[in-house]
Amino acid sequence: MNRRAMRRFVSRFMVGLMVLAVVIAVLPLLLILGSLLLRGAGARSPAFFVSSPAPVGMPGGGVLHAIVGTLMIVGMASLAGIPLGIAAGFYCSEYNGTRLASVTRFVADVLNGTPSIVVGVFAWTWVVRAQGHYSATAGAVALAVLMLPMVMRTTEELLKLVPVSLREAALALGYSRWRTSLVVVLRTALPGIVTGSLLSVARIAGETAPLLFTVLGSQYLSFDVDRPMAALPLVVYQYAIGPYPAWHRLAWTSALVLILVVLVLSIAARIVTRQRFGRRD
C-alpha cells in the first residue's frame, strides 16, 4: 500500500519536473523576443530602412545597405542552391536504392551538420583566395553550399510522400519518366518543396559566420556582387561588438529586422505545411 503511494508520488514528482523543464525551455524565446522588441523598436523610424549608415558620432543612419546586401546574397545563393538541391533530391527519391542515392543522402546529412564557419573557410580558400579579393559572390557560394543539402533532404522526403500509385498511373498512360516526374510527382509535392525551400532561405538569411571573411561587410550601399557588401547579420555583429552605445542601438534594431524576416519566413512555412498535411489525412 505504502509502496504504491510512493510510486505514484514519484510519477507525479517527475511530471512536475518536466513541466518545469518546459517552462525553462520556453522562457528564452520569450525573453529574446521581448528584449528585441523593447530595445529594437525604440530606434525604429522610416529613415532606418531607407538610408545607409551615418558616420560615427552622427545621429541617425540606417541599414538599407545591409537589407539590400542580404537580399542580393541570399537571392544568389537560393538561385544556385534550390534548383540543384531539388534535382539532387529528385534523384535520391526516383532512383532510391542506387549506390549514388545512398551515398548522396548520407553525405547530405553529414554536410547538414557541418559548422557554417568551416564552409566559410572553404569559400575563402576556393573563391576569395583564388580571386584575390572579398566579394558578395563568395558569400553567396558559402550560403549555397549550406543550403544545398537542406533543400535536397526535404525535397527527397516530400517526394517520397507522393504515392507510388500516382507515378504508376502516369507511366501507364504513356508518360515518359521525366514527364511523370515533372508533371505529376513534382507538381503534387510542390507546396511542400516550396515550404522546405522557404525554411532553408530563412536559415541561411541569418547566417553570419560564413560571411565574415567572404563578403566582409561594407558601410555603403552597393550592388556590385564582385565587391564586399553589407548584410544584416554582419551589421548586427559589427555593431554589437563595437564600442559606441549608438551602434548598440543600431544592432538591436537590425537584429529586430533580421528576426522578423527569419521568423515570418519560418512561421509561414510551418503553417503552409500543417494545412497541407491536414488536408492530406
Binding site: G97, P163, S165, L166, E168, A169, A170, L171, A172, L173, G174, Y175, S176, R179, V184, R187, T188, L190
Partner: protein
C-alpha cells in the same frame, strides 16, 4: 476466317522479382473485343502477369521477365520498342483510383491526350467529353470540369480514371481489380461499363471476385501459385472446370 487473330498473346512468359518467380511460363491469347478475366487467390501472380502486358512490371525495382508478349503480332519486348508507345496502346486502370490531385477533372481526362501534340484544343475538348460520356460520368461532372478531381467519390474517381485511360484510344485496357476499393453501387457501374466498352476495346480484368468474373467476362484464366492452371470460356470454367484446383477455388475451398 473463323477465329479472329488474338489482339494480345503471351508465349512462355515468366515474371520475376529479383530471384523470386511470380509468374511461371504462361502462354495465353486474348481475342479482340472480348472481356478476359484473370482469377485466383491473392499472390497467385495474376496482377504481375497483367503488369507484364504493358511493361509496367519492369518499373518495379527488381522486376524482369523471360518469354514473349505480342501485341498484334509485334513483340513488345523487342529491341527498339518503346514502353511509352506501348502503354499508349495498352491502357491500365489500377485498384485504387488514381486521379492526379493537382489537375482538374478536365485536365485529368486530357492528361494522356496532351502527349500527342497534333490535336487542337477543340479536338481535345471533344475527346474529353466523349470519353466522359463513355465512362458514364459526363452528366455528373459536366458542370464542374474545372474542379479538382479529388472532390469526386471513389466510384466517380475510378470512372474518371477509366475515362482518362480510354481517351487516347488504346486497343487494350488492363483493369487491375478496378472495383476492389469501391462500394457495391460503384462496383456495379464499373461492371456495366466494362460490358459496354468491350465493343471498342479488348479488356483484361484481374479480379479476386469470382461472381464479377462470371458476370462480365467472356473467357477466364485461373492462376494459382504463379501458374496459369486453366483457361477457357467463362461459362465452361465456372460450370465444368477440368482441373481439380480450379474447381476447388471456384467452389470456395480455398482462396
Amino acid at each position: 476466317m473463323t477465329e479472329p487473330l488474338p489482339r494480345l498473346r503471351t508465349e512462355k512468359l515468366s515474371a520475376m522479382y529479383g530471384k523470386f518467380t511470380a509468374v511461371k511460363n504462361v502462354s495465353l491469347a486474348f481475342a479482340p473485343n472480348k472481356v478476359h478475366a484473370l482469377i485466383g487467390p491473392s499472390g497467385c501472380g495474376k496482377s504481375t502477369f497483367l503488369r507484364t502486358l504493358n511493361r509496367m512490371h519492369e518499373m518495379t525495382p527488381g522486376g524482369w521477365i523471360v518469354g514473349k508478349v505480342y501485341l498484334d503480332d509485334q513483340d513488345v519486348y523487342a529491341n527498339g520498342v518503346s514502353p511509352i508507345q506501348l502503354r499508349r496502346r495498352v491502357g491500365m486502370v489500377f485498384q485504387k483510383p488514381t486521379p492526379f490531385p493537382t489537375m482538374s477533372i478536365f485536365d485529368n481526362v486530357a492528361a494522356g491526350l496532351v502527349l500527342d501534340r497534333s490535336k487542337s484544343k477543340r479536338e481535345v475538348a471533344e475527346i474529353v467529353e466523349r470519353s466522359l460520356v463513355r465512362a458514364a460520368l459526363w452528366n455528373e461532372v459536366k458542370d464542374r470540369l474545372k474542379a479538382s478531381a479529388v472532390g469526386l467519390s471513389g466510384g466517380q474517381q475510378q470512372r474518371l480514371c477509366l475515362a482518362r485511360t480510354i481517351a487516347p484510344e488504346p486497343e487494350v485496357i488492363l483493369l487491375d481489380e478496378p472495383t476492389a476499393s469501391l462500394d457495391p453501387q460503384g462496383t456495379q457501374r464499373i461492371e456495366e461499363l466494362v460490358f459496354e466498352l468491350k465493343r471498342e476495346f479488348t479488356i483484361i480484368i484481374v479480379t479476386h471476385n469470382m461472381q464479377q468474373a462470371a458476370r462480365v467476362s467472356d473467357t477466364t484464366s485461373f492462376f494459382y501459385l504463379g501458374e496459369m492452371v486453366e483457361h477457357g470460356a467463362t461459362r465452361r470454367i465456372f460450370t465444368t472446370p477440368k482441373e481439380e484446383r480450379t474447381e476447388a477455388y471456384i467452389t470456395g475451398r480455398f482462396g
